[in-house]
Symmetry: C2
């Protein structure tokens, strides 16, 4: 399950799709297709992966299929996994890195 989420997030096109839905939620396949350098079929495949990972939920409206962002899986990845590595001492390191970069200027 969590593996599906990581795998889904591994592809830049799929992260792009999440960004698009973050920007405007509930878009149709055709609407999303127009913004990506890819055919409808490619986009549909990616959306299927996102849906399989639970990152996107859908609702039909007539012949259209609306796609909605579902942040819960990302939240779970965040809570159970990412935060484990990102907190707490990494914050000190990134702070240090920022300080060093500032010094360069």
């Amino acid at each position: 399950m969590i593996d599906d989420v990581f795998k889904a997030l591994a592809d830049p096109t799929r992260r792009r799709l999440l960004d698009e839905l973050f920007e405007r939620d509930g878009q149709t396949l055709s609407a999303l297709e127009q913004r990506l350098p890819m055919t409808r079929f490619g986009v549909a495949k990616h959306l299927k992966v996102l849906e399989g990972a639970g990152l996107v939920t859908t609702r039909r409206r007539g012949r259209e299929k609306l796609h909605f962002l579902n942040p819960v899986p990302i939240r779970e990845v965040h809570d159970r996994w990412v935060s484990k590595y990102a907190e707490p001492w990494a914050s000190a390191l990134t702070g240090l890195k920022r300080d060093l970069e500032e010094e360069q200027k």
Copy 2:
């Protein structure tokens, strides 16, 4: 760059390796190999990917190669990307989900 990190995290074996280093930092290839159901070569390949993504740094000590966890890239993924989706209203949803699951019992 950030793409390398996501790709590196997509594989369960690599996340397992990060867990092992989280548990005990600075392990050698041979030490890590013994805990994984895989030959040395497979583990070495995965470590190379992790190193390429900046998630693991290495230091040689004689004929050994020590592997260390580097949480900075994960922190950056967290700060720039995951937190965007995970905060803030997802926390309300996960809270709600937990509440609903509690009610089932």
